[in-house]
């Protein structure tokens, strides 16, 4: 594979209004990122589907809030696609990595990015992390085969 570089004319102005970085912390900000506490997978498996979904809703909101720099409670988890929330490939990869590490499951990045809503993702996670049989569950545990759908 060849790698080429392309020059850009010196008179091109490619900078943008700061509004396009309004999801980033202000320049020079030193405040640490807010920590997000993940529910214990064993605890999730021990509770009913409704409670599990509620715990995962709070957790996924927290992770989305961290990568998107918005208040978790303000996130519309039901009515917007992940892309409309502001999840792109790089922060989607960050979400995937953080959730996989915290929950001990495999999450398909493409499916995460194409999820119709965060609620769809949460519902699938609730299926993967429950005690009951699930089409996602057996393959979803880390290292047990084909990565499962997460959305």
């Amino acid at each position: 594979m060849t790698l080429l570089a392309i020059p850009v004319p010196a008179d091109w102005d490619l900078d943008l209004a700061d509004d396009y970085d309004d999801d980033l912390p202000p320049a020079g900000a030193t405040a640490p990122e807010q920590d997000v506490v993940a529910p214990d997978p064993e605890d999730l498996a021990a509770v009913g589907r409704g409670e599990r979904t509620a715990l995962l809703d709070a957790y996924v909101r927290g992770e989305l809030g961290r990568v998107l720099h918005v208040a978790p409670g303000s996130i519309d988890v039901a009515g917007r696609t992940m892309n409309s929330l502001g999840v792109g490939s790089i922060n989607g990869l960050e979400l995937q990595a953080r959730m996989e590490a915290a929950l001990g499951i495999v999450i398909d990045l493409q499916r995460l990015l194409r999820a119709n809503s965060a609620a769809e993702l949460i519902d699938c996670l609730a299926g993967q992390l429950g005690p009951e049989d699930s089409p996602h569950k057996s393959a979803a545990r880390r290292g047990t085969g084909t990565p499962a759908a997460a959305a």
């Binding site: 594979m1 060849t2 392309i6 490619l14 509004d19 490939s89 990045l109």
Partner: protein, 252 residues
């Protein structure tokens, strides 16, 4: 009627689209977009994301319309079969018959990049990633890429990751799999001997806030043109400016 510009044999045409400042977003001409595109443009929670999407898709329709010599609203899209599973979520393509015209579109935080060629092409543009994001994401990459990033001074890793990621996503878009092919599978780092064979990779300068890259199937393009779409090309009556740009002589 002007003759269709159809991309020249072996050429790679690249277009950069800079979104307007939000105060000027009202100048964007949405009339070329279809209902689904308008609905999606309105769905973003951040207004700046909606402006980026709108600018990118007006530009894409106007650029493709100019190459195909049809009005931008008549450009119809489909998805090619995914090379991995055969389902219709592979590379986006235009439905019209005619000489091969491949395209790829990417947009991120105010910047968009369009690639046009007579063979499969993928492009990607991304805003510079944050250091914290890079630290979390690096273990998801190819082992060789991880090792090379880890060997860099910490302050150089975000830029290196950003450039690497745009190459990777451009390649996966060109391939047609997108990110259904895991980011750890292919090596897109600096060692040419380890990169996927049969593709040409280009690092595209995208200004002070973004990285960009293109991946073109086969050998190096006979000509490469990188153009900055004039702001007025996204306004009412801006189609003529795009058409003129597609007919400029190629510079090697």
């Amino acid at each position: 009627m002007t003759a269709p510009a159809v991309v020249e044999a072996g050429a790679l045409d690249l277009w950069l689209i800079r979104s307007p400042a939000p105060a000027d977003a009202g100048l964007l001409d949405l009339t070329d977009l279809d209902e689904a595109e308008r609905k999606r443009a309105a769905s973003f929670i951040r207004p700046s994301d909606g402006i980026t999407y709108t600018s990118a898709h007006i530009a894409l329709r106007r650029i493709l319309g100019a190459y195909l010599d049809i009005p931008p609203p008549e450009v119809a899209f489909l998805r090619e079969p995914c090379p991995g599973c055969g389902k219709p979520h592979g590379r986006p393509a235009v439905t019209l018959p005619g000489p091969p015209l491949h395209f790829s579109l990417s947009h991120s935080h105010g910047m968009a990049l369009v690639g046009i060629a007579d063979r499969p092409v993928g492009v990607d543009v991304e805003r510079h990633p944050r250091a914290g994001t890079v630290g979390v994401c690096t273990p998801s990459l190819h082992p060789g890429e991880q090792a090379e990033l880890d060997a860099l001074p910490e302050e150089e890793r975000p830029a290196a990751f950003g450039q690497l990621w745009t190459r990777k996503e451009a390649f996966l878009k060109g391939l047609g799999t997108g990110l259904s092919r895991g980011p750890s599978v292919d090596y897109l780092g600096p060692d040419p001997g380890r990169r996927p064979q049969g593709w040409t990779l280009l690092d595209i300068p995208c200004g002070p806030r973004h990285h960009g890259a293109a991946a073109l199937a086969g050998g190096a393009p006979a000509t490469t043109r990188l153009r900055l779409l004039p702001a007025a090309a996204l306004h009412h009556g801006g189609t003529a400016g795009v058409r003129a740009g597609t007919r400029e002589p190629a510079a090697a």
